[in-house]
């Protein structure tokens, strides 16, 4: 007989073959009996299960009605574990229509944020002030090329007059190369912000970018920055080894509170009120060696480490004596009377600073340990005690001496401390002047701390924040306490207060003892 399908003759089976096939089928039949019977029991369980109503209408586990006779304890426990919560899948969630990237206008990624705040000074003269900030961000990719911009507009009246400031914080073109020997190589040209260091708010290493300090520390450090102009390179040789470097041929200074400003430094005010002259600050401008720096980032033994080097013009000013008098005229011979050197003009200047440093971050038990150290071997100036010893001005005519300090910080973070969503950050900050001498109007060791506690609840609809900056050496401090409410997921209303105290009028925070204020802020994102 021929098989049409196999196209070959079919051999008839003999007795041995029939026996083995029959045996195989029998074994398969008997082995399947337990599984079939188990399936019947489970089907019976499912069909007999009642659906009891529970406290939550969204929680309707189906369960066996009591324990089947004959089940032992373990099986009974297992059966109760098998309660099914599949009704949870009936929970309704939102499903917006998806928007494809091609529908972005001109393919540009765009977002913005508006913050508007009103301040009330709690001391005389009880001023009402306003600080408003609009941030816009846009990016447009063209293959491996990215064009990016961050624009900011500020409106405030902290300087006794309405003031509008506009700035491109970033404006750059970035191209990603993918050479064979490296993970990637990014080259950017334009204006770009640099974020160095691992500290929160206080970062000894993060001194490259100019900042807007007219509102002092009301805005966080990253929020105060603007970029530097130049060429930037980011080279990832390996996932755990990266080199960043930049060169900037343009100097831009920080914005500092000036005379008459809400945060005018007390020493500046005293000097000006006494008839002293405040000289003009250096102008922004092109300078081929304005800034050059880089950092090497790598991981070793589960620790993220960075090594830093920087040489550049300090965007923050140092104030030095630029004119002094050593004699005054008298109406009788010898018609000139020598006096102790007395400064009559102070001028801000921007020294060229050299900085070397490192930072690290590592998980340590239930916390994360971070730290950084900056050493400034050149370009850092400290005041001498000319106010107590006027003749020091003969030795140091600017009233300053170049010193070599170490500045350091170590901190820990803890999420969910005691309760969910309670975040704690504590940092110790310090400075040590390695070439200290007794002529300096400073301590060899300076100690301080920062503490931040944040708590949010009801799905972050409510948030509270407390932040303390404390100078342990001088005893002055800055406290911030804020409460926020999120009425919709694109807006937040905050009320808070910032108060200063301790120390004296020459200290960083103590000088603003009368500048405590409460505020309310509205933040909207789009």
């Amino acid at each position: 007989m021929e098989s049409v399908l196999l196209n070959r003759p079919v051999k008839r089976m003999g007795a041995p073959e029939i026996f083995f096939i029959t045996l195989l089928l029998a074994v398969m039949f008997f082995m399947s009996i337990p599984f079939v019977m188990a399936g019947e029991i489970r089907r019976d369980s499912a069909s007999d299960a009642p659906s009891p109503s529970l406290q939550s209408p969204h929680l309707q586990p189906r369960q066996k009605d009591g324990v089947v006779n004959g089940e032992d304890e373990e099986e009974a426990a297992e059966t109760s574990e098998d309660k099914v919560f599949s009704d949870l899948l009936g929970e309704e969630g939102a499903t917006p229509a998806p928007i494809e990237p091609e529908e972005r206008p001109y393919g540009i990624f765009f977002e913005g944020e508006l913050r508007s705040a009103v301040w009330y000074q709690t001391h005389e003269p009880n001023q009402w002030l306003t600080a408003n900030r609009l941030d816009l961000e846009a990016e447009r990719p063209f293959g491996n090329l990215m064009l990016a911009a961050k624009f900011r507009m500020d409106y405030e009246n902290l300087e006794n007059e309405n003031h509008v400031e506009m700035d491109f914080r970033e404006l750059l073109a970035d191209y990603r190369f993918k050479p064979e020997a490296m993970a990637y190589l990014d080259v950017s040209v334009g204006k770009r912000m640099i974020y160095w260091g691992k500290g929160d708010e206080i970062r000894p290493l993060d001194r490259v970018c100019p900042e807007d300090l007219t509102t002092f520390y009301y805005y966080d450090k990253n929020d105060r920055k603007t970029g530097i102009r130049g060429l930037f390179v980011d080279a990832a040789f390996h996932e755990k080894l990266r080199l960043e470097a930049f060169w900037s041929p343009y100097f831009e200074k920080s914005r500092i509170p000036g005379p008459g400003s809400y945060f005018e430094p007390a020493a500046m005010k005293t000097f000006v009120d006494a008839g002293g002259v405040l000289g003009d600050d250096q102008s922004n401008g092109w300078q081929s060696d304005a800034a050059l720096g880089g950092r090497l980032l790598f991981s070793v033994a589960k620790t993220d480490v960075g090594l830093y080097a920087y040489r550049g013009i300090d965007p923050n000013p140092t104030y030095g004596v630029s004119k002094m008098v050593t004699a005054v005229p008298i109406p009788f011979p010898p018609y000139v009377m020598p006096i102790d050197p007395t400064p009559v003009e102070i001028t801000p200047f921007h020294p060229k600073v050299t900085m070397l440093g490192f930072d690290f971050e590592r998980v340590l038990g239930p916390t994360v340990l971070r730290g950084e150290v900056a050493y400034l071997p050149q370009g850092y100036y400290t005041s001498v005690k000319w106010q107590d010893q006027a003749d020091l001005l003969y030795q140091y005519p600017s009233g300053l001496k170049e010193t070599r300090p170490f500045q350091y910080l170590v901190g820990i973070d803890k999420n969910d401390l005691f309760v969910h969503n309670l975040f704690l950050n504590i940092q110790y900050v310090g400075a040590f002047i390695s070439d200290y001498d007794n002529n300096l109007d400073a301590n060899q060791f300076t100690h301080g701390m920062t503490c931040t506690v944040r708590y949010s609840f009801m799905d972050s609809r409510f948030q509270t924040r407390w932040r303390l900056f404390g100078n342990l050496t001088d005893g002055d401090y800055r406290n911030l306490l804020e409460f926020s409410y999120k009425p919709v997921n694109w807006a937040m209303i905050s009320v808070g207060g910032i108060w200063y105290g301790g120390g004296d009028k020459t200290d960083s925070f103590g000088q603003y003892d009368n500048n405590d204020f409460i505020y309310t802020q509205l933040k909207v994102i789009f």
Partner: protein
Amino acid sequence: MKHFLRIILLAIIMGPLNGWCAQIGPYDSARTTEDGRMIAEAVKDVNRPAKDLLIKGVMTLKSGDKTADVRKVIIKQKTCENLIRAMFRFMDSLKRGVTFLTIEIDGPDNDQYLYIPALERPRKVASSDRQNDFEDTDFTNEDLGARKIDDYDYQRRKDVKMGDRLCYKVIARSKDTTARFPKHISWIDQETFIPVQVKVYGRDNQLERVMVAGDIQAVGNIHIPFKTVSKDLKRDHTTILKVVSAQADTGLDVHEFNKDQMGETWKASF
């Protein structure tokens, strides 16, 4: 006789096509530990994308019956030399830009980082925080990729039918005596190896949390649930993750899954 042997061989080969099923086999009380671990490994491996996975979804947070927040999320996953890297980012609301990165390593603890846009740098997440909730959700950091097979002991229990799906049932007990959730019971669909239900127990052995997965769909060669619901029974708080779109093996760049790139704008958006 040759023809007869060919038939026998064909009958043997015509068993389950899924290699894992063939290895795991039916429930055997003498192999509960080995099978339990094997099932856990299968859950981890079977639905691992060959190259990468891109998921766009919407997350709804509910407190009781009230919707507290709705956020768009994008989840990216990359397989690098059999190890997984995963990134999770909120795309809108006041949490926009918050990004979570998990890098699986050959070692006791995976590396995890959290990027918050205001900080402009990634922060390490302590491994002891792995069972803490991620932001305001009812998913833990461990659920987002920090779970290590070796962190748990496993016991297989008898197979259970969940609806129309036959499931493996596995109890996982944490080796960490201080774990917030020391016991998990999972019901794993035998066909797709997706855990369709997970019960999470607290230190007092009380049921604290339930996760259920539904609308399981094939995406390329793997399966993913297009709806996942996690409910905290104590707080009566629910997180619903609905997948809007999922694409496998689209060619995601491995360098995106780097802690120093966490702040970069993503091309994917919706």
